[in-house]
Every structure is written in C-alpha cells, then in structure tokens.
Symmetry: D2
Subunit: 161 residues, 4 copies
C-alpha cells in the first residue's frame, strides 16, 4: 500500500522568514507522524525549509523537480523525481500528495492550490493573507482549511486522515 504523502507548497526565493520557519516546523511534524513529505524539491524558501525540517526528524522526503537533473535540488531531498517540465510539474506535486499544505503565497503556490482544488484534494492554507484565503475558499469552500499555526495544520491533517 502506498504511504501517506503530505505536500508542502510555498514560495521559493520569495519566502519570508515566517514562511520558512513555518515550513520547517511542518516538515518536522509530518515526519514525526510517519508521513512522507513531498515538495517541489528546489533548494529555496519553503521547499528547502520543509525538507530540512523533515530530515531533522528522520523523515523521508520526495522532491518533484522542475528540471531534468539535480542542479537546483535541496540537499535534504531523499528521492528526486526529475520531470523536466518546469512549472508543469506543479500538477504532479498536488496529484501525488494526499493532502496539500500551502505555506505562504506566490504565483507558483497559487497555481498549486488551484490545481489541488481542481483535482479534488483538500488544501490547508497557512500564513496566507485573508484575501488569498477568501479567494480560494470562494472557489471550493469545503476543500480549503485555514490554519493559524503548524500545530493547527497538523491537527487538521489528522482529522482529515
């Protein structure tokens, strides 16, 4: 049986300190639950921080890379899925996650939330503006959960499990 995979999506070079701290804690907590962490795999922002958090807690990490090689990979990625699809890999990110957490906001993150909703996945948003959260809730109210902290996000994950 395939293992439970939690996707953590968020900005790369546009990530704030808070986004990264939050992503690190999410990565830790996901690993502690025995779940696999999936990210976009690059060594930047939320992706890098979540992978570091998961490895600090001895978790297993999957990175869905936009590239054909490992050039931009976070060193905390265990399993590199090289797509050579650029932003087209965002649909694979969300399809391969059982639940998606969006931590912070950016253009790529917004595409991942929208694709997750379109593909029927639950999405937990954390560290997003009220306007962003309201917008995505307006697209599909029952799929979007707002979390005020990593702890609350993990509680929501458990309740969805």
């Amino acid at each position: 049986m395939p293992k439970t995979v939690i996707g953590v999506m968020g900005p790369g070079d546009g990530a704030t300190e808070t986004d990264q701290q939050c992503a690190y804690e999410l990565g830790c907590a996901i690993a502690q639950q025995g779940w696999i962490l999936l990210t976009g795999g690059r060594n930047q922002g939320v992706m890098a921080a979540a992978n570091q958090g998961a490895k600090a807690a001895n978790g297993l990490t999957v990175g869905i890379l936009p590239t054909a090689d490992n050039r931009q990979i976070s060193p905390a990625v265990d399993i590199a899925i090289r797509t050579d699809m650029g932003n087209g890999r965002n649909n694979i990110n969300v399809l391969s996650s059982d639940i998606v957490i969006a931590c912070g906001m950016g253009m790529g993150t917004a595409s991942e939330i929208a694709l997750a909703l379109k593909n029927g996945k639950p999405v937990i948003v954390i560290n997003c503006s009220p306007g962003a959260t309201e917008f995505f809730q307006s697209l599909s109210p029952q799929q979007v959960y707002n979390a005020d902290s990593p702890t609350e996000a993990i509680d929501i994950l458990k309740s969805l499990g």
Copy 2:
C-alpha cells in the same frame, strides 16, 4: 514566424451566461484581428463559446485538450493538440499563448492565471470578482489587467501587442 496566439481561459460547466457571451465576443474579435484563438478545447462553457465566436468570424482555433483523443472536443476547434495530461495541460495553454485572457473564474481558470503569471505572461481578467482580481494583482501587479468588456480587453491586447 509564428502567428500571434491569444489564449481565452475560463470555466467549463461552471460558466455563466455572461461568461459565455463574453467569450463568444472575444473569440470573434480575436479572429477579426487575424490572431489565432487558443483554448482548452473542450465543448463546454467559455472554451466552446470562444471557439464558436472565432469560427463565426472565420478565425483559426487551437484546442489544447486534456485527453488523448477528441472525445470532448468543441466542434469549433480546428487544430486539436491532444496532451493526455488532464489539468497538467494548463501550463501548455498559457505557455503557448502570447497573452492570456481569463473570462470568468473557476478552479482551472485560477490555475491558468497563476501559471501564466509565473511564466511571465500578461493576463487580462474580465468578468471576475473584485476579490479575485485583487488577489491576482497582489501576486504581480504589472502583469494583470482588468477589462470591463470584451471591447476593452481587445483594446488592452492591441496596446500590449
């Protein structure tokens, strides 16, 4: 030299009457300018209406289908690009458009706007809520143009050309 391609994105079965009327007029106007219309190719909502409009004005239409065959195709699509990629084709929709018009809103449309912005494309939004428009403008103010009518959208297209 490749021809100018204008993408019209919008909801399928969730499209309103206004969305469809607007898409039809956009399709007409795009064809009248000698531009090629690109859509997601399915026989529903904004995609179907835009293609009908373009054909009514003797335009050329390209449909980027989510499927491996023509099962769901709008009969007003001239050139069928069959991707077999589901929603993953949304990235191709926007990359293959020189400018993207989002007419109405839905989960797929939101993903296309976000992917268009991420890929550096100008996006004209029409018939979207103020909250949606503000959200996307917050992601990249200089790439998002709001149009109040198909005529205004075409004026913006010309100014961007």
Copy 3:
C-alpha cells in the same frame, strides 16, 4: 471538426541530406493535400526541412516545442505550442498527429515511433534501416508501414485516410 494533422518526426542535428530532402518533399506533399504538418518545431534537420517544404506549398505548420519560448523555433512554424517539457513533449507530438511519419532515425525519433505505436497510431517509416523497420514491425506489425519514397508515403497516407 478538427483538421487532419500529419506528424513528420526525424532527427534534428543528426539528420542526413537524404533525411532532409525527404522531409522537405513530405512537407510539400502534406500541404498540397490540405493537411496540417506537425513537427517537433525546432530549426534543425527533419523538423526544419519538413516545415520549409510545407510553407513552400502554402501549408499550415504546427511546432510542438520542447521549450517554454521560441528560442529554437524553425521560422517556418506558424503555430508554436510551447510545452517546456523537453523530450516529454514527444508523446504530445504523436498524440496530436492522426498519422506519424518517421523520416530517418535517432534516439528521439525512436521514442516517437514507439510512443505512436503505444498510443495506437499508424506509423509510416521512410529512410530507416531494415533493422530498425523490422524491430518496430515486431512490436506491432499491423501499425507499421514502410515507404521507399515520399510519394509512396503519401500514397499510404491517402489509403489510411
């Protein structure tokens, strides 16, 4: 109704003079039949020659590019489909062709023939070694047609139409 699209696949920088001459004639003949030519879109080898042939006969040409932009595009491509998928776009090349012609051989071409067969498309091979032709015929005898000249390839196309 979507127009008939014929895909011409073949080597890029590894194309021989014969491959290119053959591709040029195929492009011409496809355009003269009123069919659309589809290639991998790059300005090299078989892709470039087929597009030139089609434009010399006033045809319409579609290029499915591996890139996110037009950097490598043949100037004889009318409609650029930008996939940003590298060799992953080869599956779209064959899915979007009603019939595939392989003109010459290389690693990319071999992948396109195999993907075309897997997706149920007829494949006409021209200017390929007997060993290559036999190999692909062994995979699916009834889908692979050998042509000794562009004229014979067009005759086979007509018979399959």
Copy 4:
C-alpha cells in the same frame, strides 16, 4: 543527497514468465544493494514483479503512475507519483532513474529505452531479442549494455555506480 534510484522498465500485460521472474530477481537485488526501485507503478507484468521482489527484500519502491489516482497501482509500491500523463510519464520514469534496466520488450518499453538514451542515461537490456538490442546499440553504442542474467545486470550496475 538524493538516494540512488534504479528504474526497471518492461512490459505490463505482455510480459512473459521469464520477464517477470527476471524482474522479481532484479527488484530483490536492487533492494539488497540499498538502492530504490522505480517502475511505472502498475499492477502488471514487469512492474508488479519488480516491486514484489524489492519488497521481499525490504526495499523502498517508487511507482510513477500514468493515472491521477491509485486505481491500477501495484500493492508493492510505497511511494505513488501520480502524473495523470498516460504514456507521457515514460519520460519522467527514465529521467528519475540514475540507470535504466529494460527487462523484456514492448511498445512502452521501447519508448523508455529510447527516451533514456536521448536523456543521456545508461540502459541495461535483459531478456530482449538480438534484433532489439542491436537496434538500440546502433542508436548509441556506449550507452547500451546487454546482460544475460539479473546477476550480470547487477554487476553492470555496480560497475557503473
């Protein structure tokens, strides 16, 4: 640092008993080396057998599925990458493998060998006809290795590591 991933490709419902026995042994041996097994993930033929072999040896298995869900998944897949890309996922299969082993032959397998070569990956063929092996060696002699047994394939893998 990403772990070493070995891809085992081969026919699904067209797999012979020998193909499956060979794939099972390869899966075992790959796991025993501490490498990760990557397959196309479906519960058929070479994919299913390789995954069973790897799990029998307590290995970790990644399945790159053609679907958006787990409908066709081998129960011996640990990590499901859901692409919704049909045969388009074959390029991801080979890009994400450090070395590709082709065990048996079919249309999909042929596409994977060709894509692996195109993407610069070493390919070990086992249980393929002399004609098939010669064809792929003619495309790129230095990338294609012939193995007469799973043991020999593993020896080649070690020498390439």
